[in-house]
C-alpha cells in the first residue's frame, strides 16, 4: 500500500513544484519588501516624532493583533467594495508584506532601544547626522539583537504564506491538502510538505547563524 501511495505521490511532483514555487515567490517578494518597510517603520518609530510614532504603533498593533486570514480577506474581498480590485497574487503579496513589515518593525524597535545610550551620545558628540548615527553606530549594534528574531520572523512568514490558499492561490500547503485526497496518508503527505518548507527555511537559518557568528566575533562574545 505504501508503495502504491509513493507511486501516486511521485506522479504529483509537477503540482508540488508549482506549489513550492508559489510559496517561494510569495515569501521572497514580501520578505524583501517587508524588511525594507519594516526597518523604515522601526526607524521612524524611534525617531522622536510623537505623532508618526503613535500612528505607526497603532497600525502595528492592529496588524499584529488580528489573524492574518482576516487581513487577507479584507484586502481581497472587502477592498473591492471600496473600488480597489486586486487579483489574488497581488492581494497575497500586499497582505504578507504588510504583515512582515509590522512584525519586523517591532523587532527593529526593540533592537534599537537595546543599544546603550553612551553609544548614541558618542555619535551625537562627533556630529553624525541622524541617519549616519543609525547607519554607522546604532543599527550595526542593534543587529545583534535583531538578527535572531528577524530570521525567526522570516521563517514564520514563509509558513504564514500558506494562508493565501484561502483566496485561491495554490501554495505548498494547499498542494498537500489536494494530494492528501488521493493519497490518504496525511502523515506521509505532510511529512513531505514539511520537507518542502525545510528546504526553503533551513538555508535561511544557517545563513543567519553565520552572520550572527561574524557579528559576535567582532564584539568579543560572552563566555558564560
Amino acid at each position: 500500500m505504501i508503495w502504491q501511495q509513493l507511486q501516486s505521490l511521485a506522479g504529483s511532483y509537477p503540482l508540488a513544484l508549482r506549489g513550492l514555487g508559489m510559496t517561494v515567490m510569495l515569501s521572497l517578494i514580501s520578505l524583501v519588501l517587508g524588511t525594507l518597510i519594516g526597518f523604515g517603520l522601526g526607524i521612524l518609530r524611534t525617531g522622536g516624532n510623537r505623532l508618526i510614532s503613535s500612528v505607526i504603533g497603532a497600525w502595528v498593533d492592529l496588524i499584529r493583533g488580528t489573524p492574518f486570514l482576516v487581513q487577507i480577506f479584507l484586502i481581497f474581498f472587502i477592498l473591492p467594495e471600496l473600488g480597489i480590485e486586486l487579483d489574488a497574487f497581488s492581494a497575497g503579496i500586499i497582505a504578507l508584506t504588510n504583515l512582515a513589515a509590522c512584525f519586523i518593525c517591532e523587532i527593529v524597535v526593540a533592537g534599537i532601544r537595546s543599544v546603550p545610550t553612551g553609544q548614541v551620545e558618542a555619535a551625537l558628540a562627533s556630529g553624525l547626522s541622524r541617519w549616519q548615527r543609525m547607519r554607522q553606530v546604532v543599527l550595526p549594534q542593534a543587529m545583534r539583537i535583531v538578527l535572531p528574531p528577524l530570521v525567526g520572523q522570516y521563517v514564520l512568514l514563509i509558513k504564514d504564506s500558506s494562508v493565501v490558499s484561502a483566496i485561491g492561490l495554490t501554495d505548498l500547503t494547499r498542494v498537500g491538502w489536494l494530494v492528501v485526497q488521493r493519497v490518504p496518508n496525511g502523515l506521509l503527505v505532510f511529512f513531505l510538505v514539511g520537507l518542502g518548507y525545510f528546504i526553503v527555511c533551513y538555508p535561511l537559518i544557517m545563513l543567519a547563524r553565520r552572520l550572527e557568528q561574524r557579528i559576535g566575533a567582532a564584539h568579543g562574545e560572552v563566555q558564560l
Binding site: D61, V70, S114, I145, P148, V155, G194, C201
Partner: protein
C-alpha cells in the same frame, strides 16, 4: 458583504464566541508556559560549551523552526498513534504548541543572554557566584528586559497559531467564527468578530508585557 453586516447575528453567536475565547485563552496560557519551559531548557542546552547538549538542542530548534506547525501537528496527532501513543486532542494541541513555540523562545532567550556585556558575567564570576546564581541574579534579569518584546511577539503568534488546533477538533475561538460563516453564510460577521476578540487578547498580552517590563526593568536603563 459589509452593507448587510448583521450585529444581531453576532450577538446571537456570542455565547459560542465566549466559549471559544475561554478555550483559546487557557489553551494558549498552558502552551506558552510550556513553551517557556521548553525554551529555557533548550537555550540552556544550546549555551553549553560541550557538544553533547548543544548539538541536539540546535538540531531540534532548527528542525522545528524550518517546518510548519501543520506538519508538526500531523506528526504528533497521526504519527504518535502509530507508535502506540494515543493522546487526547487537547493534550496533543498543547504539546504541539509548546514544542513549536519553545524552539522560537529558545532563540529569543539565547539572543537576550548574548546581548549582556561580558563585564557583567565577569563581575558575577569574580564574586564567586555559581553558574545558576549568575544566571538568576545577574544575566537573566538583564536579558529579560531585552527579551520581553520578542517574547510578546511570540506569545501573539502562539495565540493565533492555536487556531490551527481546530484541525484536530479542538473548539477554540476561530472555530466559533467559522461556524457562523458556514451555518449562516456570514463570513464577514464571523471573521471580523474573531479579529476583534484576538485584538482584545493582544492588548491584554501587551499590558501584561508592559507590567512585567516595569516590574523587572525598574530604573537602571543606561550605562
Amino acid at each position: 458583504m459589509l452593507e448587510n453586516f448583521s450585529f444581531r447575528t453576532i450577538v446571537e453567536y456570542l455565547p459560542l464566541f465566549g466559549q471559544g475565547l475561554v478555550t483559546t485563552v487557557w489553551l494558549s496560557l498552558l502552551s506558552f508556559a510550556g513553551a517557556l519551559a521548553v525554551g529555557i531548557l533548550l537555550s540552556a542546552m544550546n549555551l553549553q560549551r560541550g557538544w553533547l547538549f548543544r548539538v541536539p538542542a540546535k538540531a531540534y530548534i532548527d528542525a522545528v523552526r524550518a517546518t510548519p506547525l501543520l506538519a508538526q501537528l500531523y506528526f504528533l496527532y497521526f504519527g504518535l498513534p502509530r507508535l502506540g501513543i494515543i493522546l487526547p486532542e487537547l493534550v496533543v494541541g498543547i504539546l504541539a504548541l509548546s514544542l513549536n513555540s519553545g524552539a522560537y523562545v529558545a532563540e529569543i532567550i539565547r539572543a537576550g543572554i548574548l546581548s549582556i556585556p561580558r563585564g557583567q558575567v565577569e563581575a558575577g564570576v569574580a564574586s564567586g557566584m555559581t553558574y545558576v546564581q549568575r544566571m538568576r541574579l545577574v544575566i537573566l534579569p538583564q536579558a529579560f528586559k531585552v527579551t520581553i518584546p520578542p517574547l510578546l511577539g511570540q506569545a501573539i503568534v502562539l495565540v493565533k497559531d492555536s487556531a490551527l488546533l481546530s484541525l484536530i477538533a479542538v473548539a477554540e475561538l476561530t472555530r466559533a467564527g467559522q461556524l457562523l460563516a458556514s451555518d449562516r453564510f456570514m463570513p464577514a460577521e464571523g471573521f471580523i468578530t474573531i479579529a476583534a476578540f484576538y485584538l482584545l487578547l493582544y492588548y491584554g498580552l501587551k499590558g501584561l508585557a508592559a507590567l512585567s517590563g516595569r516590574w523587572l526593568g525598574q530604573a537602571g536603563a543606561r550605562t
